[in-house]
Amino acid sequence: MIETLQFQAAPPEGLLRLELWGDSKPVSRRFARAFGAALPGPARAVTAGSLRLIWREPGAWMIRAPMADRAALQERLIAMTSEDGAVTDISGAAVRCALHGRDWRILLTYGGVFDAEAPTFQPGCVAGTVVEHIAVRYDLISDDLVDAYVAPSFAEDLFGYWASVARNLDVNRS
């Protein structure tokens, strides 16, 4: 019997984009001193206190923080990056959906082109892909929890699609 997948749309959260145009190592060291974790490498994500640091693309990260801390964090990051990069508030640019249940790997093979079943895709990995024409970014938290970030305009459509697939996952499984 397949385990039930559950969806949980996250409440509004602070999302900041950190982009560095030079060597990222000095900033990463400063980041580690300030927050307890260095900026994660390519296709990786780490948790640092209340922050989730998610690699986005070369030289760019998305930082998730409680909404209440967003403004202060932005100021702090701007000071930290100094002349090495920029910080932009993108809180309204993505919504997060938490997929609970071990069968998220099966679910994410539907409508997409991403190898969600790859043994190397383990907690701490992030990936950007397309599902049903919709750009989506995965942040694998644990074996039974994956966060999916998607533009708010697509969220209802994508989550509806996933819900419809998940309803029949025991039928679809093979």
Partner: protein, 981 residues
């Protein structure tokens, strides 16, 4: 009744009877039966009529290669035409219908076409088209009525379809002996393996022929192999056909979750489309037996020898009572034994080859009349079945009574996927077959698909190819020894070419392509008429076209063409195999989405608020935007005019959240923007903005928008809704490729910021009441404030020609702003407006739009934007603008305005006199908001020098025209007075 179910035997489940109907007549079969086997078991051998001559058609094969036994299945939206009865597994309630007959299968009026076949030669349609054009009017009706194979469903498809991705180290296509061995070997090495099988069960030829593998029976070995594969985590997909092999080892597969016409269980999908990306692919796709050429070789009762054996061994069905075997290969001898063992009277084995003393032949000679150097000349029979077989041997002509002729003209390896993957084919002269040659991708062919013959060789080859594929990916563990085989008659079948027609037979009666009624005479005619390329012959005669794509017909047709040419077959070549290998339904390709919105629907943050106002929606890319907000009794036109007039006379507000938006930050932000934008940016002081536009590298305008300096080192760039994705890519390209060293960061904030534009002479009043203490910025200035308790960024920009403000707010917080604007706006006689009013207002003001005037072919000069260009020429596209063709003083399509007293048809050609040659076209047209008449924008050759000319906007396809005067593209407040407070 000459066909019947045996009391025992076969792999069907006799404890589970299944009821079905064929042409409305109820029958019963068993679980595991195909429609073909069940009909044979019920004594039904006539399944349809051929496409062209309506000749009776029976069952030739037992698999997907079947060209003749095509039926329509299901009801309503689930009806599926052209389904192979040999590839359709029984389910309770299955309703099948024969095709291409009227009024009934046994009494078909269309069969009269067979009598006039000589008037319907190859290339009939082409020749018909060469006649007088008026004649087409006469026979079009009849041709259209006769055209098409099967009938499409007329109701909407109620089923759903999945698309799914899968990845593996080794993909094995085909789960016959070679495929199973390959999967076992690859998985033993530790590789991630997927095994596809188009049949409902795995095993392939092991289900048909007795053998012992590793000491077990075939059935037991298959079960053990499946258990091993499952334990190793191999994904085994049955009823799943690999239909396409694409670049980078992407294989697409169609999985039948339900059978055609069947209602899915549990609201699940009917079919699933797999995209499988593999590191290595082993093609164990088997081989297809070929028929033999003789007169009336398409009659019901003529069956491929392996198929006849399959019906006996797998389905427990005896396909006839008196059989003749005609062959050029040892394999058909097995059929003779299998049939005889069930009580069928084997009249003779007609072997085209010379006599031999191989064990299987010797054993057959002891039981049957075996004739060597023997060819079938013709058969007699019709819709009721086969009656006689006439053969020649050694100058003698002999006749045999029989209701089954089992034929084997040798085997063609299934190389379709190999060829789709770019692989070459090589010709095997002995077996007269093409087989897989060079591989262009990471594929290998195994077993029969590689041209091998004999179970032991096939198994060993599959084992070796599977192991090699795993090793190639890096799995070094040895898989152990290949399975050991013991079978009654081991070794190859010693097949020889039997592609030529027997001497003395009439080529008009020898069918090559059973599905399209192509005869040897048709091939000859095509050759006489000058068709030399096999691809041309295919299209002229329809050889190898339609649903079976020549799986059983290609080789005989090629051989005939080669004989006419006097060249060997490999020099004539082979038609190209293209996807799909077997037909797939359109629903499967469409996948999850169907109906009106087949693409994702993007909902702006205010979607619910708009929905509550019941607007007329308009698709805009993936977005759905309000086109107008009609009030009671209003149509689109009335609502649009009211909304546009409200903006001109009071105030209106429109959702502009979908615009592209980018924040560019850093000490080099302005430098980066002056690469992206064709205007100056660096001179903007903080809090100021300007109109800007962007060019492609070829100098053509690609988009436009505004750019704002919102802090010392921070800019906001807006671009069009439709071009937002393209602009994101373009900026990324400039940032990372053209100017990677700049200290600038770019964030796509399209959805971070929701936007509402407020426009009209009372817009300032509205803003003042929303934010009483706000120091309202002048035109093209920006400022921050708080509205309805929410922080906002206000940009004083206008797209309408009126004093206007764009209010940007973080998307989750936009609802209170819209609500407040609506409430205060209503007290100012304002209203929301949609895209249609926006269009009228922008045309009057002469603003260009992407997709209209910015059509990918216009330069800044064409659009009258050249004075705004950055004189430093640092922007993308600047160099290309220097090309002579773009510098030429004449010949360019240039932006103009058009005025008329009558409606100007959008898209119409601009001509001097109608009818006449087009000199341009109307890009956008509309009524005037406040005054009488119509205005439009257009692109006109040398338009900038033709102001004052009278032209005609002419649309012959819509039978519309209007006289227009060419004017400057600005119809409203040319001085910009209305922007000022």
């Amino acid at each position: 009744m000459t066909r019947q179910r045996r009391p025992t035997g076969g792999l069907i489940d006799r404890t589970r009877p299944v009821g079905f109907t064929f042409d409305g007549v109820p029958y019963e079969g068993f679980a595991g039966d195909t429609l073909a086997s069940a009909l044979l078991a019920n004594g039904v051998g006539l399944l349809g009529r051929s496409f062209k001559y309506h000749r009776p058609r029976g069952i030739l094969a037992a698999g997907v290669e079947e060209p003749s036994a095509l039926v329509g299945v299901g009801q309503g939206g689930r009806f599926e035409p052209n389904t192979r009865a040999t590839d359709l597994f029984l389910y309770d309630g299955l309703q099948a219908h024969s095709q291409n007959r009227w009024p009934s299968l046994s009494l078909d009026v269309g069969a009269v076409l067979g009598a006039v076949a000589r008037f319907l030669p190859a290339g009939f349609y082409y020749k018909a088209f060469l006649g007088k054009p008026d004649l087409w009017k006469i026979y079009e009706h009849f041709i259209r009525k006769a055209a098409g194979l099967g009938r499409p469903p007329v109701a909407p498809d109620p089923d759903s379809y999945d698309h799914r991705a899968a990845f593996c180290d080794v993909l094995v296509v085909g789960a016959g002996p070679a495929g199973l061995a390959a999967a076992l070997a690859a998985s033993a090495s530790g590789a991630r393996v997927i095994l596809l099988e188009q049949d409902a069960v795995v095993g392939g030829g092991l289900l048909r022929d007795p053998a012992r593998l590793d000491g077990a029976t075939g059935d037991s070995w298959i079960s053990a192999a499946l258990a091993t594969l499952t334990a190793r985590g191999v994904r085994v997909l049955v009823r799943c056909t690999a239909v396409g092999y694409w670049d980078h080892d992407l294989v697409t597969a169609a999985e039948r979750v339900t059978e055609p016409g069947q209602t899915p269980d549990h609201d699940g999908p009917a079919q699933r489309f797999w995209r499988i990306r593999a590191e290595r692919v082993v093609l164990a796709t088997g081989a297809i037996e070929r028929p033999l050429p003789f007169e009336h070789n398409d009659r019901p009762g003529v069956m491929l020898a392996q198929a006849a054996r399959t019906y006996v061994a797998r389905f427990g069905v005896v396909p006839g009572s008196r059989a003749v075997i005609a062959t050029s290969h040892d394999d058909a001898y097995r059929t003779a034994f299998a049939l005889a063992d069930t009580g069928v009277q084997v009249q003779a084995i007609l072997d085209t080859r010379p006599a031999s003393d191989r064990p299987i032949v010797t054993e057959a000679k002891a039981r049957f009349q075996v004739m060597f150097g023997a060819r079938v000349l013709r058969v007699a029979g019709g819709a009721a079945g086969l009656r006689r077989v006439t053969a020649q041997t050694g100058g003698q002509v002999l006749t045999f009574d029989g209701d089954l002729l089992a034929v084997s003209g040798g085997f063609s390896p299934v190389s379709h996927l190999h060829m789709q993957a770019g692989g070459g084919l090589v010709w095997n002269e002995t077996t007269a077959a093409f087989q897989a040659g060079d591989a262009r991708q990471n594929q290998s062919s195994a077993g029969s698909a590689a041209g091998l013959d004999g179970l032991s060789e096939v198994l060993c080859d599959g084992w070796a190819k599977g192991g090699a594929a795993a090793r190639a990916v890096g799995f070094k563990r040895a898989p152990g020894p290949a399975p050991q085989v013991v079978e009654p008659w081991p070794g190859p079948g010693h097949g020889v070419s039997a592609l030529e027609a027997p001497i003395g037979a009439d080529p008009k009666r020898i069918f090559v392509d059973f599905q399209n009624d192509v005869t040897l005479a048709d091939i000859d005619l095509a050759w006489r008429e000058g068709y030399r390329s096999v691809e041309h012959v295919k299209r002229y005669t329809t050889l190898g076209m339609a649903t079976d794509q020549g799986k059983t017909s290609n080789m005989i047709g090629l051989a005939r063409l080669a004989a006419n040419e006097g060249r060997p077959v490999p020099e004539v070549g082979l038609t190209t195999f293209r996807p799909p290998y077997t037909p797939v339904t359109l629903g499967l390709l469409a996948g999850h989405r169907k109906g009106f919105q087949v693409t994702p629907l993007r909902r702006q943050a205010l979607y619910a608020a708009h929905q509550a106002a019941s607007p007329i929606w308009q698709p805009s890319g993936y977005w759905m935007r309000p086109r107008a907000y009609p009030r009671a009794g209003e149509d689109l036109h009335a609502a649009t005019l009211r909304e546009a007039r409200t903006v001109r006379s009071a105030v209106g507000w429109v959702d502009v959240s979908t615009l592209g938006k980018f924040e560019v930050v850093g000490p080099d932000a302005a430098v980066l923007l002056e690469r992206v934008c064709a205007t100056t940016v660096g001179k903007l002081s903080v809090g100021r903005g300007r109109y800007t536009f962007m060019l492609r590298e070829d100098g053509m305008v690609m988009d436009d928008g505004t750019v704002w300096r919102i802090a010392d080192d921070r800019y906001l760039l807006t671009s069009s809704t439709g071009g937002a994705e393209r602009m994101a890519h373009h900026i990324d390209y400039v940032r990372h490729v053209l100017a990677p060293g700049l200290k600038a960061a770019v964030a796509n904030v399209q959805e971070h910021w929701a936007g509402i534009a407020v426009a009209g002479p009372r817009a300032r009043d509205l803003i003042a009441r929303l934010a009483p203490d706000f120091d309202i910025p002048p035109h093209m200035s920006a400022a921050r404030t708080v509205m309805a308790g929410v922080p906002v960024q206000v940009l004083a920009a206008s797209y309408s020609g009126e004093r206007a403000f764009e209010i940007y707010v973080q998307s989750p917080n936009v609802d209170p702003i819209w609500t407040a604007i609506s409430a205060i706006g209503a007290t100012l006689d304002g209203c929301p407006y949609g895209l249609e009013a926006l269009e009228i207002l922008r045309i009057e003001k002469g603003h260009v739009v992407v997709g209209g005037e910015i059509d990918g072919r216009t330069t800044p000069h064409d659009l009258g934007l050249q004075r705004m260009m950055n004189p430093a020429r640092s922007f993308v596209g600047a160099a290309a603008l220097q090309r002579p063709a773009l510098q030429a003083p004449q010949g360019r399509q240039q932006l103009v305005g058009l005025e008329s007293g009558e409606a100007i048809p959008e898209g119409a050609m601009l001509v001097t006199h109608a009818p006449g040659a087009a000199e341009g076209h109307v890009t956008a047209g509309g009524i005037r908001a406040l005054e009488a008449g119509a205005v439009a924008l257009g692109l006109l050759r040398d338009g900038h020098t033709r102001l004052g000319e009278d032209l005609v906007a002419w649309s012959p396809t819509r039978r519309l025209s209007a006289r227009v005067k060419v004017v400057p593209p600005m119809f409203y407040d040319a001085e910009g007075v209305r922007y000022r407070d």
